[in-house]
């Protein structure tokens, strides 16, 4: 019988090839699939990736690893600060960057994962983001037409998962993960805790297993904090 469970990140990323388009969940370093990113960084022969991710990691964590290896050809993100190597590659022209409003980025993933190829959104109307895009007015307000995204592989990180691929995320580590899971031709989920099918309450699952093709339990998550802010 078909088994979605794989042993580890190395096995999970099998089939990812140079030139592919990947979606990677996370907001900043929160909820990123750190095990799969590390596994990809360990295969520097995989190059020319287009990565759809809200952010681009920091110099020594997350997507920063892939940037350091020059495995990424193009980033599609809403915000890409906090990363010197990124800045260097972008300014030198080695790295292509497509900046997209965060809500449009989210909706492009969700729409792609829901079989909607294009939609109208108000974000970016009247700005350079709207250049070359169709404008239409609804109820007196202007909207631009945006096309949705699908990926060759979507890589997400969840809190809990089961052997059927059902996922539950924790707190704000949910972010882009569920919608990117929807939009993957193949979707890989790494989870902190993997349980048998039937152990998760079907009412509490965030991502239905139909969207997930491979799943594994990662060990010893670092979960680095970007802006540790505490009160006295």
């Amino acid at each position: 019988m078909i088994n979605k469970v794989v042993a580890n990140a190395e096995e999970a990323i099998e089939g990812i090839e140079s030139g592919m388009t990947l979606m990677l969940g996370g907001f900043g370093l929160c909820g990123i699939p750190e095990k799969c990113i590390a596994a990809l960084a360990a295969k520097p022969e995989i190059k020319d990736l287009t990565c759809i991710s809200n952010n681009a990691g920091v110099d020594d964590f997350g997507l920063g690893f892939l940037l350091k290896n020059k495995q990424i050809k193009k980033m599609i993100s809403s915000y890409v600060g906090e990363n010197d190597e990124f800045e260097r590659q972008m300014l030198s022209g080695e790295l292509e960057v497509e900046l997209t409003p965060q809500g449009t980025l989210a909706e492009k993933c969700r729409a792609g994962g829901a079989g909607i190829p294009a939609f109208f959104t108000p974000a970016g109307y009247g700005t350079e983001i709207a250049e070359g895009k169709e404008v239409r007015e609804y109820n007196g307000k202007k909207y631009i037409l945006e096309e949705s995204f699908v990926s060759d592989f979507s890589i997400v990180k969840a809190w809990k998962g089961d052997t059927k691929g059902n996922l539950i995320f924790k707190a704000t580590a949910r972010n882009f993960n569920p919608i990117m899971a929807m939009a993957g031709t193949i979707t890989i989920a790494e989870v902190e805790e993997l349980v048998e099918a039937g152990e998760l309450d079907p009412n509490e699952i965030h991502t239905p297993g139909i969207f997930v093709h491979r799943i594994f339990e990662g060990k010893n998550y670092e979960k680095r904090i970007e802006q540790r802010t505490v009160r006295g």
Binding site: L99, T121, N175
Partner: protein
């Protein structure tokens, strides 16, 4: 003249009971510290949280619980988590009653520029373009002039735009102004600031009608 906390304090007076509010990075974040007594406001963080609370104590820190500025935070009772598409769904659908943002420039048509300076490293617009294109009530919190002393309230923005015809109010270190019918309408002066000083610092069309009261903080 107001400092950053003063600007935040004045904006906090605009809050109404029951409102959902999104605060941008910088001065806007400070608004949360000055919520008037007796009203209940829920803060939305566009990375997927309604009901944001204060920063955590050391032992409350949770890597999985951050705000849109990537800072560790806490939640209040009745909070809820959701994904990024739901988050911007509620923003675009106008469910967030007030958005407070910083800006590099605003103009008399309500246009705003706050994400890109040509020739400088561009970090991205994050959620700002969605927020300004969606909210019906947007207050800009910023200094009246830039470091070179030039007005940031212009006839027309010179920097790449974040959104058009969207700003409803501007609160600066000098004044509170409404943006209406192609002009900045002066409503209040900061403590000790004269109308002439505000005129001087405002490059866009400025409307001054009657006596302009001093802000009460």
């Amino acid at each position: 003249m107001l400092d950053k906390n003063g600007i935040a304090k004045r904006i906090a007076q605009e809050l109404e009971d029951g409102w959902y509010v999104n605060l941008g990075i910088g001065i806007p974040t400070l608004v949360a510290n000055y919520i008037p007594d007796g009203i209940d406001v829920t803060f939305q963080s566009e990375n997927g949280l309604l009901g944001m609370g204060p920063f955590p104590t050391e032992d409350q820190v949770d890597a999985d619980l951050i705000n849109a500025g990537k800072q560790t935070i806490t939640t209040r009772p009745g909070s809820v988590f959701f994904d990024s598409s739901t988050s911007f769904g509620m923003i675009r659908a106008g469910k967030v009653q007030l958005t407070v943002l910083g800006a590099m420039e605003v103009d008399q048509n309500g246009d705003i520029a706050n994400w890109k300076i040509p020739g400088k490293m561009v970090k991205g617009m994050g959620g700002a373009m969605d927020l300004v294109a969606s909210a019906e009530n947007i207050i800009v919190a910023m200094m009246h002039t830039n470091k070179a002393g030039e007005s940031k309230l212009l006839e027309k923005c010179t920097l790449p735009l974040t959104g058009v015809n969207c700003i409803t109010k501007v609160v600066t270190n000098l004044a509170l102004l409404e943006v209406k019918d192609g002009a900045f309408v002066l409503k209040e002066r900061a403590l000790g600031v004269t109308v002439d000083e505000i005129k001087e610092a405002t490059a866009g069309k400025l409307i001054i009608e009657g006596e302009i009261p001093e802000m009460k903080l």
